[in-house]
Symmetry: C2
Subunit: 309 residues, 2 copies
Amino acid sequence: MNAELLVSWREGPARQAIIKCVERICGEDGSPPVPVEQRVAVFDNDGTLWCEKPMPIQLDFILRRLVAMATAQPELRDRQPWKAAYERDYGWLGALMIEHYAGNDTNVRTLAAGILAAYAGISVDDFEQQSDAFLRSAQHPTLGRGYLECAYAPMVELLGYLKANGFTNYIASGGGRDFMRPTSQDMYGIPRERVIGSSSTFAYTDDGPGGTITHKPEADYIDDGPEKPVRIWNRTGRRPLIAGGNSNGDVPMLHFTHSVDTPTLHLLVLHDDGEREFAYTDGAEQALIQADTAGWTVISMKNDWSTIF
Amino acid sequence: MNAELLVSWREGPARQAIIKCVERICGEDGSPPVPVEQRVAVFDNDGTLWCEKPMPIQLDFILRRLVAMATAQPELRDRQPWKAAYERDYGWLGALMIEHYAGNDTNVRTLAAGILAAYAGISVDDFEQQSDAFLRSAQHPTLGRGYLECAYAPMVELLGYLKANGFTNYIASGGGRDFMRPTSQDMYGIPRERVIGSSSTFAYTDDGPGGTITHKPEADYIDDGPEKPVRIWNRTGRRPLIAGGNSNGDVPMLHFTHSVDTPTLHLLVLHDDGEREFAYTDGAEQALIQADTAGWTVISMKNDWSTIF
């Protein structure tokens, strides 16, 4: 039912695989329907639900914060990552991602330490206000649209289609959980309690009415790779029946999406549309091999989507 | 609305405070109703929703596991906590709790290390099967009822009343999250994804179809005291409007339950009915002082509840 919601999906194998799986789970093919509480779907965010090029949206948010810090404290301008942010040295940042894909995370750790320092001591309320204001005002650097309009329309339709068929959708992203929460309902119809993502550790202080939760300068966990199944379990207590991702870091989540009793669906968004979005497979090499081996459904943005945004 | 669900609550200040707060939040007194998504209620489990004497129910579960280990591995019988479990040395366990309340956690750490060792390497699926089987079969040692019937009837009614008024209920317990999950829906009408509790860390292994999540022998966090607000925030992304607890470890959670715009309700279950349950204030001394100072609603099991179970 409700397949008419998938208006931006062209007729083809991806759309067919989605509808076939959902109709089987809902018992529309005559098989016993899967109980509603078991209909859990999980989706990566960056590159799966919204655009992650030329850089992840949260990185833009962070760089602005680092620039503001370096502007206020000149002594930071000689230290990475503030130096790269202050000098708009996209070479350093680009090299960092290439090194990361090659297995060298030296500069990733430098950036991560900067990020943690950048928000040390901020309250969760103030952090939310900042990310909310950023996402509702900042523009994508090349697409000519606000970040809030950088979600992929077909994926938003897919979330709506799943919801209409009794599914509970979660975001299972490597990005910051509290960065996404203020806008997840408006963008995706996913309420804040169903956003799973990376997080720093927090401290609670009884400093007045209601007390305050503040960010500590250490990561609690990075919700990527083999940590994704763990975090999905911690939050939901279930294995998903449907999962969508786009990169190597999503492979364990897709692999964890499994049932011996019911059909499951594994979606991998392929960025093959350099005209309407960006064409790249960097960081998705292993995922594409796995998709081929395991028979996952690869979504060609170029062929399967009539509209991207 | 739906106050008739509170059948086991005697007319009195606790029942009145609950109904007054819920009716205000729902706008039945003419004030603007609080949006449904903000109606979050959190409850401790041990001593708040179900009985925790003569020992926490999960401790019984753990002791049986330690006995089974010591039976299979005789060399464990000389080491704590296996020694105490194997010899049914309730003196050691009782002293441990008294030391804990006095701020000495030496033996608590010995017990915790034993617990973590007891489940090292078990899959989340196997652990769930064990806790589910235990809770659905084991008997309370003195009350003459199965553990599944050890939930307080008035609190179950309260959860139903809140649900009927648009609230989303969570368990925010110091007990093990995955221990409670298999029965939380049947006992409390709270689905597994809304159980917040303590947890060990996990590892994900891609060891076949779907992979496996296993327990590692280290605590991820203990959901008690100042960790409770942090874990509630991590899971829900909100401050609760209603919270219920019974011990010192619940004080930060109750304190975190706050709003400048809407009414809030802070419930503290007082164990003052030695005839029908157990009479004790050990571990609740600070909470009772806070309740008095802050005007929290103390629930007298003896006076406010016509039925306990």
